[in-house]
Amino acid sequence: MIDYKIKLTRPVKNILNDAWVWKMAWRDARHNFSRLFLFLAALVTGIAAVVALDSFNQSVQDDIENNAKELLGADLVLNSNKSFDSEIFSVIDTTQVAVAGEVELTSMVLFKNSGQTRLIRLLALQGDFPFYGELKTLPEDAYQKVKQGNFVILDETLATQYEVSSGDSVKIGNIYLPVAGVVTKIPGGGGLSATFAPTVYMSVANIQATGLIQFGSRVNYSIYIKTKDEKEAITLQKNLESIAKRYSYGFETVQGRKDGLGAGFESVYRFFSLLAIVALLLGCIGVASAVHIYAKEKREEVAILRCLGSTGWQAFSIYFIQIALLGIIGSMIGATVGVLIQQSIPYFLSEYLPVDAAWTVSWSSIWLGIVLGFVVSVLFSLLPLVNIRFVPPLAVLRTNQDFINRFSKLRLTAWMLIVLFPLLFTWWQTKNIWIAFAFISALLVVFLLLSGLAWILLKLLKKFFPSRASFAFRLGVSSLFRPNNQTQLLLVSIGMGAFLIATLNVVEESMLAQVEFAGNENQANTILFDIQPEQKEGVIQLMKDHQLPVLQVVPIVTCRIQSLKNIDAEKLLADTTDSIPSWAINREYRVTYRDTLTKAEKMVKGKIQFFNDTTQIAHVTISEGMHENLKLDIGDSLVFNVQGVPIQTIISGIRKVEWSNDPPNFIFVFPAGVLEQAPQIFVNTTKVIDDAKANVFQRELVTSYPNVSLVDLRLILGTIRQLFDKLGLVVRFLALFSIITGLIVLAGAVINSKYARLKENVLLRTLGARAAFINKITLVEYFYLGCLAASTGVCLSLLSGYLLTQFFFKISFAFNGMELGIILMIIVFLTMLIGWINLRNLLSTPPLQVLRKEN
């Protein structure tokens, strides 16, 4: 035979110059858009989650940046928990700045029209507060009336709740004042505190007459200063610094408020963005899974093209172009959906946001979504699409000819990028490489655990499934082990969604359990505070008259730290190398005295020592945690300044305190016999069962003892529940993205195994099985799938919930079995629903059609 040496010269075109590839991409796509629905759905869900959160964050950050002065209401604010010394005013008076004042305290209000009472935050304003932004009222002149004195205005929610309108009167402390209107907007907003205690505004001129400022009352004073410019604000702050330090006054600047709000929101955003990342990553799995199915479906067509002379790259490019272009379209849809969701977030959270972040559309977030969507669609479709390059043309002759598993640089690069992508994206989103590492590692661990659990459960199911179970059940279960069924992938992705939702539920329940004291037997649910010594017996009598048990009468003494381990507090404050936080040295401590532990306390180190007259040294106990802040241990000395009198003490014990349990609780507890003669106030606790009786009691209490405030812990619990419900709604909504993407992956896998199912169903129907029987088999299969996935996720959520509550939130672990059960059932139901919808399609295919195709 002659050895032929003719060399073939094959022209090589790149993807952009190859018109045929683009033409084929379009021709093929005309009929395939519906097949790529899964790909689009997965991409849209992931991108929508990212864009919604990023866009929302941008809006809030922009608003904080643009309205920083309005948020503070001034250029500089001085705060104190005692009235300002004249020395501070002498410095301020040397400048040309405008000054306004504010006095804030907690009190009870009695609504004259209904006789109802409520704990409120009282703000007494002086001068032209706010200097920036506007305090909007209804009617518009209401604030002017308040400034002139003898009027109050209320938070809109409070007025609505108690049906108070202009002209009605309210009793605050000793005086009745008419209501001038309601506040619709205030610079900085009410924030979270307004949810617990809504605000009533009055003029400072009326504050003394209320009689609410007494010894021991918790009062905060603020001076609002408007300067010419920022420079003057900085100079003034410097000039005031030494006096402020001496009197423990605090400063608040525009930048400080901006940073504080930004940082506060940042952590919320970080949490939300982690949820969005999970949704996106599941979306990525969805994309990869959908393209995998698509590439598999295209195998025969690619083989024909290869037979007709197309190169592997040309075949690859046809589908790559489709995916890339559809990726851009999907990203655009995802970005649009994301923006729509972003618009709805403030609707749920507006009460807790300091700014109006509603309608700003962040173009940078939209671009981010589109670019990200393109990257995700290209990156995660590369691996399945690379296989197209290696479809052997021989597959036209032999249908069982599989993809050739050949080494490919593109495949290797795709693998590396896929591994790197989640890490880089999380890093970029959280702006913190360590959080990114930790998060991705945690996610990986969860994935591995879910995979491991899924594997074990499947093995157990296979091994222990009763062989004598009915035919339908056996067939349903065996379907789980069908080749290409992707059962394990499904278990992981649905399990991941279940895990996220259930974890959130466990954390929420644990948090609620911390404040769930109102229902416990013999535990107080109402606290009366600011009781003056001369009012003590009267209040106790009033409680008894209304058949309310007096559970506790706790004396409270206010004091400050004078020296710590024989070093003066001032010296400690000046020492910048000392790591004791200045707030811990500077703050006012509210202490009590007793020789016993309460139900909420447990001695973890040392013991209670009774006061010994001869030594004149009091042995005090300190709460766990605070001893670390103050760097104190058993035997360390501490001198307290109790209203000007120095009291020498030694730490004799460290108590573990469950703060939410049986309040009030204290950082320092003195032994009996030391502070009895010191100026003090009292706190009484009781348990209210009958609301009607309680209302009468509250009314009489406010009338007879106007300075005494009452906290209904059930009301607070209700508010916390509402808050959790609202936040939970947003969080669940985001976690829903994971579930949706999980279901998309499920739908993908169902479609992937469609042909195998079709053949099975047709065979069964040919052999005489009725539609109801086939329905039963499918429902059994998806029931098991849903059950295994959801129970894996829920079981794992108990572990993660436990770890999170113990080590991150540092609260007791609790969960609601009923709610977890409901989550489990919903997921099982959704899984079965998807399986059933897919089956309907299969049942409508005539058996003969399939049998003919087979022949």
Binding site: Y4, I6, H31, E301, L308, T311, Q314, P393, L397
Partner: protein
């Protein structure tokens, strides 16, 4: 005058690795096909006919032996080079038609020439479809055509790039008698007109008898070669 061979198979062997012993589906097969010749490969199921066709058309490579198609030694060529060669000079007709379902009849026929980068190919495609009697079905999709019509589209596509050699794998295997006869006539008529070399794999002896030479396969070996004097 020297004989010009379009296809030369020398000691072709194809072995598949399997869990126990390797499976040899083609065992030392050698033959040559002259330009313009029409040959058929017959044999029972599992005799290695389709494997031989796949290797001859460059769809697969032999484990041993050499194959030359149109003077190109396929053993040394990459898959993409073989694809290019197929596009330039080879036509195919398959038992199950193998039309692209997302393309119309006309687009299916145009593909080989478009792939080559040729312009204005529509006229020739329409001409070929008219030749096979499908002038009214140009814009129909494969699912809208009957089996016989689909095979006629496949035939038009096979001749679109004016191939030097045409490989046909059971071209009438999925058709009824009437359609089979129509397709057979078309195949041989166009083949004669275009002077194309034909390699036909079939079970159908009647069809095989229409070719000039019949290669009989049995157990992966070429068991007999029959020259058909009447053609």
């Amino acid at each position: 005058m020297t004989t010009e061979y379009v296809l030369e198979a020398n000691h072709l062997t194809k072995t598949y690795a399997s869990a126990e012993t390797p499976l040899t589906v083609l065992d030392d097969v050698s033959f040559k096909v002259e330009k313009g010749e029409m040959i058929s490969i017959i044999g029972p199921s599992g005799s290695g006919k389709t494997t031989l066709l796949g290797i001859c058309a460059g769809l697969d490579v032999p484990t041993e032996g050499t194959l030359s198609l149109l003077n190109f030694k396929l053993n040394n060529m990459s898959e993409d080079d073989r694809a290019y060669l197929r596009n330039q000079s080879v036509g195919f007709v398959f038992q199950n038609f193998q039309l692209l379902p997302t393309l119309t009849a006309l687009e299916n026929v145009m593909v080989p020439m478009e792939l080559r980068g040729a312009k204005n190919v529509k006229a020739k495609a329409i001409e070929l479809l008219e030749r096979v009697g499908l002038q009214n079905r140009l814009n129909h999709y494969p699912t809208q055509l009957s089996g016989g019509e689909q095979q006629r589209v496949a035939m038009a596509r096979a001749f679109m790039n004016t191939p030097t050699i045409l490989f046909a794998d059971e071209p009438t295997g999925n058709l009824d008698e009437e359609n089979a006869s129509h397709i057979t006539n078309l195949l041989f008529d166009i083949n004669k007109e275009e002077k194309t070399t034909l390699v036909l794999v079939t079970h159908n002896l009647e069809l095989a008898n229409k070719t000039q030479r019949i290669l009989k396969m049995k157990g992966g070996k070429l068991s007999e070669e029959i020259r058909n004097q009447s053609n």
